[in-house]
């Protein structure tokens, strides 16, 4: 961060640093991938006990109500300490969504287990025939008494095979506008009729999977908002969520890799290192700017699409620089121990390919910006 810290912020940083130094178990430090639940959830729960699992959640829902600067301090220190990556679908996606659209009963049932780390969530949006064109989704739910019966197929579901619950978009009506017949549904993944199959990704990791639904019965009380009103529920919060997608979490982890490679790199690469530092400072400034405007009551609107593009492409650009620094080791599959620190060579670079694809591909984000913010529109012929 370029801005000076207040005494309270500096004290917070010292607290975070001391906690991370003592609390991260050795086998979880410096991992280059997201460890499976049995390894990473104890860490999630440790952060939860310390009160730091939900920095951006309001106090009323058990969050930390941290300022944007405090959020950045947490991210900087976690990256620096090599803290393990944790699942964020609960904290960053369904949690905030339920705060705004969930019934009091849904909030009481689902928010505390997210905070405590007792329940892992996944997102059921994409389907084989519905990626960027999400409203083409076909997984259907038909009404049967006080239940919805779900049939269909979700895919690219990050941590779908580890999750306990899924928040999904399902088709409840096929009449009229394709967006009008979609319902937002919370699905208990232990329900009968669900089959999950992990999919290996290009980093040789089973991070995502496909999920099949065969006559899966979901009580109507698990609908968020109203039946057929799911598109609005899913998209209304996207602008705010994109602020979290713009947090420099991944970019700082990538930068840490550059910093560890820096002492080993050719002196001629100093400019590339400065470029990486500058790119992450730029992202951090953009995140602080957006989060502070939002905290002051400004509506981020579609403009926040720019943060998703910036955060993901900054991370990728920093990892390009790391590849440059790694030299001939850039293709090494496994992390290499150089002196004491374990330095990842290729895994983060490969894992980062997903960043510009998920959460609405960066091409979709650019189209949103062009059409809604920049006033560049197609004309009807």
């Amino acid at each position: 961060m370029l801005r000076p810290e207040t005494d309270a912020e500096a004290a917070f940083r010292a607290d975070v640093r001391a906690f991370l130094a003592a609390a991260i178990p050795d086998h979880l430090r410096d991992l280059t991938f997201r460890a499976p639940p049995q390894d990473c959830m104890p860490w999630y729960r440790a952060l939860s006990r310390r009160g730091w699992i939900a920095p951006h959640w309001p106090k009323a829902f058990g969050g930390m109500a941290a300022s944007p600067v405090e959020q950045v301090i947490l991210l900087e220190e976690m990256a620096h300490a090599g803290a393990p990556d944790i699942p964020t679908q609960g904290i960053n996606h369904i949690g905030p969504l339920l705060m705004h659209f969930g019934s009091p009963a849904q909030q009481a049932r689902h928010l505390p287990p997210i905070l405590a780390g007792d329940v892992i969530w996944c997102q059921g949006y994409s389907e084989p025939g519905a990626g960027s064109d999400l409203s083409a989704l076909r997984t259907a739910a038909r009404r049967d008494g006080d239940e919805l019966v779900v049939n269909g197929h979700k895919i690219w579901t990050t941590w779908g095979h580890h999750a306990h619950w899924m928040f999904a978009l399902v088709r409840t009506s096929s009449a009229g506008n394709p967006r009008a017949g979609i319902t937002f549904l919370l699905i208990d993944l232990s329900s009968p009729g669900i089959t999950r199959r992990p999919i290996r990704n290009i980093a040789n990791d089973d991070e995502f999977c496909e999920v099949f639904f065969d006559e899966v019965r979901v009580p109507l009380e698990n609908v968020v908002g109203a039946v057929d009103d799911g598109w609005r529920v899913a998209t209304a919060l996207l602008d705010r969520e994109r602020i979290q997608l713009g947090a420099p979490a991944q970019a700082l982890r990538a930068l840490e890799r550059v910093r560890r490679l820096a002492p080993l790199a050719d002196a001629g690469l100093a400019d590339r290192i400065a470029e990486a530092e500058l790119a992450v400072e730029t992202l951090t400034a953009a995140f602080l700017d957006a989060a502070e405007r939002f905290a002051a009551g400004e509506d981020p609107g579609a403009e926040s699409s720019y943060l998703k593009i910036l955060a993901t492409e900054t991370t990728q650009a920093v990892l390009d620089i790391a590849q440059d620094l790694a030299g001939p080791l850039m293709a090494a599959r496994d992390p290499v121990r150089l002196g004491a620190p374990l330095v990842d060579m290729s895994e983060m670079f490969l894992q980062a390919r997903r960043l510009s694809i998920y959460g609405g591909s960066n091409e979709i984000q650019r189209s949103i910006l062009a059409e809604r913010v920049l006033g560049l529109k197609r004309e009807a012929r």
Binding site: P4, I273, P341, L374, G375, L376, K377
Partner: protein
Amino acid sequence: MPSETEAMLAAAAGDLLDGEGGVARARARRDAGGGLDRAVWSRMAAMGWFSLLLPEAHGGLGLAPSDAVDFAQEIGARIAPEPVVAAIAAQPLLAACGTPAADTLLARAAGGAAVICAAPAERTDDGPGSAFQGLAFAPADVDVALAFDPPNRRLLALDPAEARTAATVDGGTLAFLADGPDAVLVAEGASAQAAFLAACDVQRLLYAAELCGLMARALDMTLDYMRLRRQFGQPIGAFQALQHRAATHFVDVRATRALVREAGRAFGTQKQSGAAAAAKAAAGAAALRVLKDCIQLHGAIGFADEHDIGLYLRRAMVLAASAGTPRTCRAVFGTARAAELDAPLPRHAVRAAGPDASQAG
């Protein structure tokens, strides 16, 4: 978010420059072969522009550099050809010197003389006869340029008219300042050096802001063109290949502006020089990226001198080269950042193994 003072200053800057003729002035000066418009300069002086950062005790407004960021953006948006930023940096520098020579220059500046702070030359190690030899670069069409002579730690007042010059692509003239018999010693020693370096930081921040204003306006002009220009029965802005590039530039403009604002907050702290260099490095590089594509998106008319977008590219080139190119500023920022990381506090015990790693390669 800008305060009321910042917003008022910025609005006043826009009003004055629009009233003087806006972008057309940049073209007119270029066509006239350069030169400082003394009438406009004195109206800027009368509005207090050059004493924004001068302490109140010296008759200035006593503002912080960050208060002038929006103001400088408005100047950049209209590609005003005057060396406003260098003049803003000069007055607090003179006030900090506190010598009789500095006081005399400050009085001249208050009377409307064009006194500016030059930026250090980047390649002083070049051999004799090099065009880059000398102490500093500065716009040539001013009365006095303040330059620093590092080996002797002397702040000198020089007359750019005596210096070797080169025309710049925006219609201005750049002087390569060198020590000589006409140089006037303004101040010397460590405090003069510190004041000069602080004035360079101010220039980097405000040039970065000027570049932000410039690229934001150039992008707006380009978006207007993309909405109006029709080919294949559609506005060219309807084509996705072009839409996505425009969106990329929007990201660049927004993010750079956020960084420059953030850098302003570091002034007055130990992070000042690194932050100012970061801002200038990012803004110089981003402005050139954006402006090159603004030309491309305008097609042939963008390459034609008659269209103003070319004036924006050329002004961006001059501003990107002023007070530190992107590469120079990245090096300054990189060095400052490395020092921060090496400081005992940021690296906790777990990372104490770092030095081993440096020997292991």
